[in-house]
């Protein structure tokens, strides 16, 4: 028996060796074909409502087939009792979209994630000063136990999110995103179907914030309130049976194995032809924490779609294996993902406190080479926010717009800057390195050797990373936090340390505050884009607090018979409801 498997092993290795001939990947666009000189070209954000494979979801001539079970991989067990107030883990939100819906009162539009569409509310209206937002709810929304969704549910959810609870010694922490919601003064129910939210400060972008797919309403008041009144302040959605508002209702959960949901027959969304969503009978989320195990299961036909989440997103090498086994039967969806960057703790003493040193490092790094070396071949050099994002500075779409000189010239300039700062012989500098990102760390270390910088890698696992990144115990760090895809949403990662302890770079630069104040006061999109450009230039070039190197393109495999997928251009938490998905088989 053992000999048999040894023989299989050897044969497999031999065959694999001979199969290493690169296979053309027909359905992945050639990212290098993007013309670097055409940097003023507008990014197309027209609402075409296309599915991920070019099928027009609004086209009534396409007859979506109903039924079937979609089998997807999920990166792990949904943590925190499925509580969307507790965690933004993709292991939860990949599942939670189906259970709790893709949005809140509003959602990111399926056809264009940078626009806000109605979801649980059918309309909304601000007062002239943008301090009061009145949402009118749909009257056909039901919880999965067929209880009507009401404005009181919204009030309950918002109050729980913002303030948490405190009864005697017991407390329930507010939602982790309470800071994103801004300072909500009060929430009022206006019978029968309206909710008025009063803000302490004007906010023109309140619906953008509510459209964040992480803000799913997973807390049925009629089920949770009695538990809370009985003293169970930490009651979670799992404790009350995962009763949600999404297109699919909970069926079965076996931790470590599988999570199953079934179509909710009373779901309110309909397609363009008037047919009720969702099309599928259900979804099986198979818990597969090991990416290689996911690849193997997919390549042998046990999965219809891959998991979302870092590690499970495919690299170029893994895509080759998929296409070799499945040929045209696999489709690769792409989502703009996290950025590799080097962020400095300028509040800690060291050579990097000198702006010339930081700038020299920025000029020295060969950013293009990070794409094959670190990103598995999928990515591009970009400063921040997806290239498809309308707020992206188009001059940045192909990096480096501000550093257009050839690499040799830039490196000469870098050496001059280092000499001018008194560090021509280099220095040693620490770097917080997440164990899951060691390739990126090694890339940075190798890059900086030529500048005389000995980058000391402190390799830490996720537990320690979450502690250290909000501390001042480091010289540099990669930063890897998600932000809302709007300029105002970036203050948490670019702001001053005392206001934003999670910021990538630790600084106390009040000029950055000024930019964010200007952004909040801006009244037109053009003005916002202009300020955003100035801010990026200030952060990335003039002060070089952060060096954005390259942005990953996350690749998720789906079988070609999985139709109607809505893949967001960025942020893998978006469009995880799969309400429009159908199986063409």
């Amino acid at each position: 028996m053992i000999l048999g498997f040894s023989a299989i092993l050897v044969m497999g290795l031999i065959l694999d060796y001979y199969n290493q001939v690169p296979t053309p990947i027909s359905n992945i666009p050639d990212l290098e074909s993007i013309d670097p000189n055409n940097q003023e070209k507008d990014v197309d954000i027209s609402p075409s409502f296309q599915d991920d494979q070019g099928g027009d979801l609004d086209d009534p001539s396409i007859q979506q087939k109903r039924g079937g079970i979609l089998v997807l991989a999920n990166r792990g067990d949904p943590p925190a009792g499925f509580d969307t107030m507790r965690t933004s883990s993709i292991a939860l939100h990949h599942v939670a979209g189906a259970l709790f819906g893709p949005g809140n009162l509003v959602m990111r539009c399926r056809e264009n994630m940078y626009l806000v569409c109605p979801y649980l509310a059918r309309s909304w209206l601000p007062n002239p000063s943008f301090t009061e937002w009145t949402f009118t709810l749909r009257n056909d929304v039901f919880w999965h136990d067929n209880t009507q969704f009401t404005p009181n549910d919204v009030k309950f959810w918002l109050n729980l999110s913002i303030s948490g609870l405190k009864v005697g010694d017991k407390i329930r922490a507010p939602a982790y995103f309470e800071g994103d919601l801004g300072e909500i003064e009060k929430v009022e129910v206006i019978p029968p179907v309206q909710v008025k939210i009063t803000l302490k400060n004007p906010n023109r972008f309140f619906p953008d914030i509510l459209a964040n797919p992480r803000l799913k309403i997973a807390h049925p008041r009629h089920l949770m309130e009695p538990r809370i009144n009985d003293g169970d302040l930490s009651v979670s959605p799992l404790d009350v049976g995962l009763i949600g508002l999404g297109p699919f209702k909970f069926d079965n959960y076996e931790p470590g194995s599988i999570m199953q949901v079934l179509r909710f027959d009373n779901y309110f969304e309909h397609d363009a032809g008037g047919d009720q969503l969702p099309y599928l009978d259900g979804i099986d989320y198979v818990i597969i924490s090991d990416p290689v195990a996911m690849d193997i299961a997919f390549r042998t036909g046990r999965l219809d779609g891959g998991a979302r989440g870092f590690g499970h997103y495919l690299s170029e090498e893994r895509v080759v294996g998929y296409t070799r086994d499945l040929e045209d039967n696999v489709h690769f969806s792409q989502i703009e993902g996290g950025t590799i960057r080097l962020a400095f703790n300028v509040l800690k003493s060291g050579p990097w406190q000198d702006m010339r040193v930081r700038r020299a490092i920025a000029l020295w790094i060969d950013k293009e080479s990070a794409i094959p070396a670190v990103l598995g071949g999928f990515g591009w050099t970009t400063p921040d926010i997806s290239p498809n994002n309308p707020f992206k500075d188009k001059r940045f779409v192909v990096w480096p717009k501000f550093d257009l000189a050839p690499l040799d010239e830039r490196r000469d300039e870098a050496k001059k800057l280092m000499a001018g700062a008194g560090y021509s012989n280099g220095f040693s500098m620490g770097h917080l390195c997440r164990a899951r990102h060691t390739q990126a760390c090694q890339f940075l270390k190798d890059q900086l050797v030529g500048l005389g910088i000995d980058l000391q890698l402190h390799i830490i696992d996720e537990g320690e990373w979450n502690r250290a990144r909000v501390s001042l115990d480091f010289d540099t760090q990669p930063g890897a936090l998600s932000v809302l895809p709007i300029p105002e949403g970036t203050e948490g990662v670019y702001g001053r340390f005392s206001l934003s302890p999670d910021a990538y770079s630790k600084h106390e630069d009040e000029e950055v505050d000024r930019f964010y104040r200007l952004l909040r006061d801006a009244t037109t999109t053009e003005r916002r884009i202009d300020i955003w450009r100035q801010l990026q230039k200030y952060l990335f070039v003039e002060q070089t607090y952060i060096i954005p190197i390259a942005e990953a393109t996350y690749v998720v495999p789906y079988r070609t018979y999985v139709r109607g997928l809505v893949i967001p251009s960025e942020d893998g938490h978006t469009n995880t409801d799969f309400a429009t998905v159908w199986l063409d088989k």
Partner: protein, 301 residues
């Protein structure tokens, strides 16, 4: 101290979302992590004896007793199959290797067992899985099924991890069995047995093996720790929702109560197995039961 912060891990969703220091502090308080370490430890100790078996998971609030009740049977089955298979395979192979010392049978056994000891099982697992994909376009089922639900699917999903664990486990036992048999067969009582005209088979099985069994059984018990550690990664690779995978996951997210409770359970299992082995000694070699009398100090009376 294990570095890291479970509260930040929960709130940041694995390190990819922003949250405020105030929320972090509130959750720390909610989970009782602001209490003095002695208080937290005392609370956990009390929960270990009052029937709650460690209380609740800090990450998902589930009772740890329920987690153990769900995960333990999976690992128990996996380890039982692996031990049974390794005992069935390894002892005869060890005897064979000793009997045919330095002949082709011995070399073949070495060829199988040395890689079994040397190769990390998770690496072998991935290679075998990839081999199956490339050659047969087949992989084991991805959702665990208990033998009571569907014996065939259960066999398909658990066959490879059992084989890999048994390979690693039995490789060591084969080597130990071979070594002790070789040591025993040079003893005088084996020479006497030969002089009495007993067959080689009879000598090996009734005299040499029985006398070599005590160290073999000892190694079996000690190896259980290795076997349990082997399940940690294999359970993740093969999608088995057992204690090993659960412990790894808990360690990664700093779910202290779960780590402590599962570690305590594993220690208890190790101690119990070694106690059982101590008792088995007496069955294998009755002289051990008599040893107190035999070793009583001479008093001169």
């Amino acid at each position: 101290m294990l570095p890291g912060d479970i509260v930040s891990w929960i709130l940041s969703g694995g390190g990819e979302a922003v949250h405020s220091a105030e929320v972090r502090e509130a959750l720390r308080q909610e989970l009782g992590l602001n209490d003095h370490l002695v208080v937290q430890y005392g609370r956990w100790l009390w929960s270990m004896v009052n029937g709650e078996f460690g209380g609740r998971s800090l990450v998902n609030g589930q009772p740890i007793a329920a987690i153990v009740a769900r995960q333990f049977p999976v690992t128990l089955l996996l380890v039982t199959y692996a031990v049974a298979l390794s005992v069935i395979v390894s002892v005869p192979l060890g005897v064979l290797a000793a009997w045919k010392r330095n002949r082709w049978q011995d070399y073949l056994v070495r060829l199988i067992t040395i890689p079994g000891q040397a190769l990390p099982n998770f690496w072998s697992a991935l290679l075998i899985l990839l081999g199956l994909v490339i050659i047969f376009r087949w992989s084991p089922p991805i959702v665990y099924t208990s033998p009571w639900e569907d014996i065939l699917t259960h066999f398909q999903i658990i066959f490879l991890p059992v084989l890999l664990l048994a390979w690693e486990h039995s490789s060591h036992i084969v080597r130990v069995t071979r070594a002790y048999i070789l040591e025993v067969i040079h003893k005088n009582y084996i020479l006497s047995a030969r002089a009495k005209g007993l067959s080689q088979r009879h000598i090996l099985l009734r005299h040499a093996l029985r006398n070599a069994l005590v160290p073999i059984v000892t190694i079996l018990g000690l190896q259980l720790g290795w076997l349990l550690s082997g399940t940690l990664i294999l359970e993740s690779i093969f999608g088995l929702p057992g204690l090993g995978g659960g412990l790894v996951q808990a360690a990664l997210v700093r779910d202290y109560t779960v780590i402590q409770s599962l570690a305590t359970l594993l220690v208890f299992i190790m101690l119990s197995v070694n106690l059982i082995i101590d008792l088995i000694y007496g069955v294998i070699d009755p002289r051990i039961l008599l040893s107190p009398q035999l070793t009583r100090p001479y008093t001169g009376s």
